[in-house]
C-alpha cells in the first residue's frame, strides 16, 4: 500500500542558498581579526536573520530543510569541509571548529536524555570528562587502538552513569536534578583528590594515531602544509554525522515516540503498556555513551585533561546550549553550539564578560523565547513524504 505516501516536491534552492550564505559568512567571521570588523559581522548577521525572518524567507529555508533534509544534510557536510579546507593551515580556527563539532555530538547525547525522554542530566560535562580521562589513561598506559579507545570511553561513561540509574529512576523533578548535580560535584572532587588520575594537575593525553598515521603531526598535500587538526576534523565530522543520523532515526521511530510519551505523561504512557524504566534507562545510557565518545575524542584533540574542565558550570553550559537551540531539534543544537563556542572566542573585547553575557542571553531566552532559536517541529516519520 505504498501509494499511501507520495514524495513532496519542496524546492531545494532556499536551503542551498542559506547554506552557501552561512558558509561564506562563517568563513568571513572566523577569518576576521579586527574587532570592529567582527562586531560589524555579528551585527550584520543579527540584522540579516531578522530581515529574512520578516520577509518570510526563513520559512522557505526551514521548509526545504524539513522536507529535503537528506540532500541538504550532505550539502551541510560539504560546507563544513569547505570551511575546514579554507583554514587548512590555521591551527586555532580548526581547533575551534573541531570543538564545535564534538560539543554538538555531546549535546546531541544530552538531547536524547533530556529533550526526548525528559531525564534530567546536570552532569553532562562529567560524562564528557569520563570519556576524556578514559582516553588519557588508555593512551598513556596501554596500546589499545585509538578508535577502540573512543568506544571504551563511551562505554565507561554509560557504565559509570548506570550507577546513578536507581536514584534517577526513583526520583522526579528537583530531586532528580540533585542526583546529577551531586554526581557532577562528586566526580570533580574525586578527580581532584585522586593521585592516580593526576589530581588537580590533570593528565597529558597522547595524540590519536590510526594505523601508524599520527594525528598530531602536520602533513602536506602536494606542496601545501596542512594543520594536524585537519585529521581531527575528519574524525569529528564522521562522528557527528553518525550521531546526527542516529538521533534523527531514533526520533523518527516508535522509540522516539515512546520517549516523548514518557516525558510528557508517565502515567498515561504506562497505562498504554510503556515500560517507563526500560526506556528511561535506554535514553540515559545511550545519551551518556555518545557524550562519552565525544569526550574521549576531545581529550585527544586537547591533549590534556584536568578536573576543572568538567565542572558543574560546564554541564550547565551544555544544558543551556540545548535550551538555546531548541530542545529536541538537532539542527538547533548545531547552530546554538556554533554561537556559544565561536562568538566569545572571536569577540575578544567581551572575553572577560563572556560568561556574564552568556548567562544573560539564556535568561532572556527563558523569559521571551523558551522554545529556543529553532523550536522542534512535530515529528515526521519520513520527511519529504506526505501521507
Amino acid at each position: 500500500m505504498s501509494e499511501v505516501m507520495q514524495k513532496l516536491r519542496t524546492p531545494l534552492l532556499p536551503g542551498v542558498v542559506a547554506l552557501a550564505l552561512s558558509t561564506a559568512y562563517l568563513i568571513a567571521l572566523l577569518a576576521a581579526e579586527k574587532q570592529p570588523l567582527i562586531i560589524g559581522l555579528l551585527a550584520f548577521a543579527v540584522v540579516a536573520v531578522l530581515a529574512a525572518h520578516y520577509l518570510g524567507w526563513l520559512n522557505l529555508v526551514s521548509r526545504s530543510f524539513a522536507d529535503r533534509e537528506d540532500v541538504l544534510g550532505i550539502y551541510a557536510i560539504l560546507a563544513a569541509c569547505v570551511v575546514a579546507a579554507f583554514f587548512h593551515d590555521n591551527h586555532f580556527v580548526l581547533l575551534l571548529f573541531v570543538t564545535v563539532l564534538l560539543y554538538t555530538v555531546a549535546t546531541l547525547g544530552l538531547n536524547i536524555q533530556f529533550g526526548y525522554a525528559g531525564v534530567l542530566n546536570f552532569a553532562g560535562a562529567s560524562f564528557f570528562g569520563i570519556g576524556a580521562y578514559t582516553s588519557a589513561v588508555l593512551s598513556t598506559y596501554t596500546a589499545v587502538p585509538h578508535l577502540l579507545v573512543l568506544l571504551i570511553g563511551g562505554m565507561l561513561a554509560a557504565l559509570i552513569g548506570s550507577l546513578l540509574l536507581l536514584p534517577v529512576l526513583r526520583t522526579r523533578g528537583h530531586y532528580a536534578a540533585l542526583v546529577t548535580i551531586a554526581f557532577a560535584l562528586l566526580l570533580k572532587t574525586f578527580l581532584e583528590v585522586n593521585d592516580v588520575l593526576g589530581g588537580p594537575q590533570g593528565m597529558q593525553v597522547k595524540g590519536m594515531s590510526i594505523l601508524g598515521w599520527s594525528f598530531n603531526d602536520n602533513f602536506k598535500i602536494g606542496k601545501i602544509e596542512m594543520s594536524f587538526y585537519l585529521n581531527y576534523f575528519v574524525v569529528s565530522m564522521l562522528l557527528l554525522t553518525g550521531t546526527f543520523v542516529l538521533v534523527r532515526r531514533l526520533e523518527r521511530s516508535w522509540i522516539g515516540l515512546n520517549l516523548d510519551a514518557l516525558r510528557l505523561d508517565e502515567i498515561a504512557a504506562s497505562c498504554f503498556g510503556l515500560d517507563i524504566a526500560r526506556w528511561k534507562i535506554t535514553a540515559f545510557l545511550l545519551g551518556n555513551f555518545l557524550i562519552g565518545i565525544a569526550g574521549a575524542l576531545f581529550g585527544m584533540v586537547g591533549g590534556f585533561v584536568a578536573p576543572n574542565n568538567y565542572t558543574f558550570a560546564d554541564s550547565l553550559i551544555m544544558v543551556s546550549i540545548l535550551l538555546l537551540g531548541g530542545i529536541g531539534n538537532p539542527w538547533g543544537l548545531v547552530v546554538a553550539t556554533l554561537i556559544v563556542v565561536v562568538v566569545p572566542e572571536k569577540l575578544q573585547t567581551i572575553q572577560e564578560y563572556r560568561i556574564l553575557l552568556f548567562a544573560l542571553v539564556v535568561i532572556m531566552m527563558l523569559l521571551f523565547r523558551p522554545e529556543g532559536l529553532l523550536p522542534r517541529p512535530v515529528r515526521r516519520y519520513f520527511p519529504g513524504w506526505r501521507a
Partner: protein
Amino acid sequence: MSRIARQLSFIFASALFVGALVATAQAKDKVKVGFIGPLTGGVSANGLGGRNSADLAVKLRNADAKAKYEYELVVLDDECKPNVAVQVATKMAADKEIVAAATHYCSATAIATVDVYHKFGFPIIVWGAVLPDITYRAKYAEVHRVNGTMINQNDANAALISKIGFKNVAVIHDTTDYGKGHNEYFSKAFAKLGGKIVGTFGVTADQQDFTAELTQIKALNPEVIYFGGLTPIGVRIRSQMDKLGIKAVFDGTSGIVSDAFIQGLGPLAEGSLAFREGAPTEKLPGGKFFMENYAAQKYDNPPEAYGAFSFAAMDLILDSIEKVGPDRKKVIEELANVKARDSIVGKVTFDDHGQNTVAVITKYVVQDGKFVEWDDSEYATGKRKLPGQK
C-alpha cells in the same frame, strides 16, 4: 523584490568576506611576543607584577632606536589553572604571528603546558614557576626558565628551621604538582637534618574550611606547620590556625611571598617564614635600574617577587629576535646557546634542559607587615622570638 534583496545580501556578505581576507594580511615590521600569567584569581598580584615587568621590557625596547622591529605584547591569563593554561597556551602557540613568550607563575600551569609548546615548536621562557619537572621531566628545546627550582629553596628552608631548633613539623600542601613537589623536597631535606614530619595533609587548591585538618594537627602538636602552596589558601590556613589556638610557626614557600599574603592576614602574618630563589630585587645587579624604570611607568601594581625574572625573560626573548629575526626555529637555536649572559637577575646560563641555575636563596620572615630578609630581621638577632624559638 525578494530576489533583489537576496542578491544584495549575497553581495554584501561576499564584500565583507573579501574585506576580512584583506584584514588578515598584517603589517611586516611588527613582531608579536607573548606573556602568560595569572591575571585573575588568588595569585593575580604576582601575575600582574610579571605582566607589567614584561610590558616594561617591551616598552624599553620599542623606545630604543636601534631596535630592528616594533614589538607588540600579547597577554593571556592562565588563572593559575592547568586547564585554562592549556587552552591559552594552545591559543598562543597556534597563532603563527607570535614568535616567543614568557610564561607562567604557577608550576601547575607550567608543567601542564610544556607539551603544548613542544607540539607547536613555540619557544618560551618560564618566569616564575619553580617545579623542577618543568625543565627536567622532558628535554624540550622550546622550554627554558630564568628562575631557579624549588629544590634549593627547600634545602634552605629545612636548614633554617632546624638551625632555630625546631624538630617536629606538620606539612600541609595543595595537591597540585607545586604543592606535591614542595612536600617531597622539603620532607627529604628536613629528614636529612634529623627533623621529624609528624603529619602530612594534602588539601585541594579551592578548599575553604581547614578546621578539620588543623584540629588533627593540633593533636599532633608540632612546633612548625610547613605549608607548600600559594597565597590564598595560605591566608585561610594561617587564620584558621589562630581560631583553633594553634601556636606553631607558619613556614611557607615562595608561593606566599606576595603583599596579598600580608594584606590578607594583617597582624596574624607576623613571624611567618617564606623562601625565594634569587636575591631580593633591590640587591640584584640590575635591580636599581629595573625598579626606577618600573616606577617611571606608574603601573598600579608592584612588580612583586618575580617581576624582575619576568623582565629578564622577556629581555632575553627580545635580544634573540633582534639577533636572528622573528623566526621560531631560529629563536630556539639562539636561546640554546645562552651562556653567562648578563641580565638584571645576574648572569643567565641555560643548561641542556634550558634551566638557568640560580644558587642564591633569600630567606624571608614577616616583620611589622613586611617580608624582611631573615638575616636583617630582629628574629635573627634574637630581639624578637618566633613561638617556641630558643
